[in-house]
Symmetry: C2
Subunit: 143 residues, 2 copies
C-alpha cells in the first residue's frame, strides 16, 4: 500500500474526488475502512463506527457502503456466502482466502497473470476479473 495519511482533510478530499458529499457519518465510515486498510464486513464497520458513541445507523452504513462501491471508492469481495466484505484498495489486485480462519490477504496484481481469456460475445465488455485463491491448513482445520 502506498503510504497515505488519512486525516480528516484527506478523507474529505477523497470523498469530494468521487462526487460524494462528505457528511459526518460518511467520514467515520471512510476512516474505519481506510485507516485499517483491512477487509471488513458491514457488520464490523457498523460496530467500529459506533464503538464509543452510537452515532451511525445500520441503514446509513449499508447505504454508504453501496454508494462508495458505485463511485469506485471501495470494492466488494465475495468470498464468504454469508456476508460481503469491503476492500478499500481499488487498484488491481487479487485475494487469498483462508477457509479455516476467514482471513483475506491481498495478492499484488503484477504477481498474478491470467492468459487465455476467451472472446466475449459481441457488445460485451469486461468489468473486472476476480481471482480468489482458497487455502487451508495442510493438517486440516483446527478443532
Amino acid at each position: 500500500m502506498k503510504a497515505i495519511s488519512y486525516d480528516r482533510k484527506s478523507l474529505i478530499a477523497l470523498l469530494r474526488q468521487h462526487d460524494i458529499a462528505p457528511t459526518h457519518q460518511r467520514l467515520e465510515i471512510a476512516h474505519v475502512l481506510f485507516s485499517r486498510g483491512q477487509h471488513l464486513s458491514a457488520d464490523q464497520i457498523l460496530a467500529q463506527v459506533n464503538e464509543r458513541h452510537a452515532e451511525t445507523s445500520k441503514a446509513t452504513v449499508y447505504n454508504t457502503l453501496n454508494l462508495f462501491c458505485q463511485r469506485g471508492l471501495i470494492r466488494e469481495v465475495l468470498v464468504d456466502p454469508r456476508r460481503v466484505f469491503y476492500d478499500p484498495n481499488t487498484r488491481p489486485h487479487q485475494h487469498i482466502y483462508n477457509i479455516d480462519t476467514g482471513e483475506i490477504t491481498d495478492i499484488a496484481a503484477d504477481a498474478l497473470q491470467v492468459t487465455g481469456m476467451p472472446e466475449l460475445p459481441a457488445g460485451m465488455v469486461t468489468e473486472g476479473v476476480d481471482i480468489i485463491v482458497r487455502i487451508r491448513n495442510a493438517a486440516g482445520p483446527v478443532r
Copy 2:
C-alpha cells in the same frame, strides 16, 4: 460437457460413488442439477423439484446441496452476494458472470491459465482457485 446420460440408474450410481445414500429426494435434486447442467440457486432447485407435486422440503434441499458439496458432487459458485449458485460441473473450470442478466457461463480450464501464484505461508495448501470474469453490455444495462 461429456455426454452422460442421467437416467435413474446413472444417478443412483453417481450418488453411491460419492458415499451418498440415494433417497428419493436426493435423486430428484440430483436430477434437476445434472439434467440441465445449469447453475441454479437453492430456491430455483426447490421450485423445480416441487413443480408437479410438493415432495421435498426446504430443509432437505439445503441439507442435500451442502452434502453434495462436501462430497465433491457439485460446487458452490459465489458471484452474487444474495445467493449461492450450485454447479454440477466439478471438473476444473472458471466462470463468466453477466452482471446485467445474472447469467453464468463456463470457461474451459485449459483456456485460462494463471501464472505467478505467490508462495503460501508454511503449512498451507491451495484448496482451489476461483476466477470470475464479470462482463456487461458495452452500452450499459437495459432499462
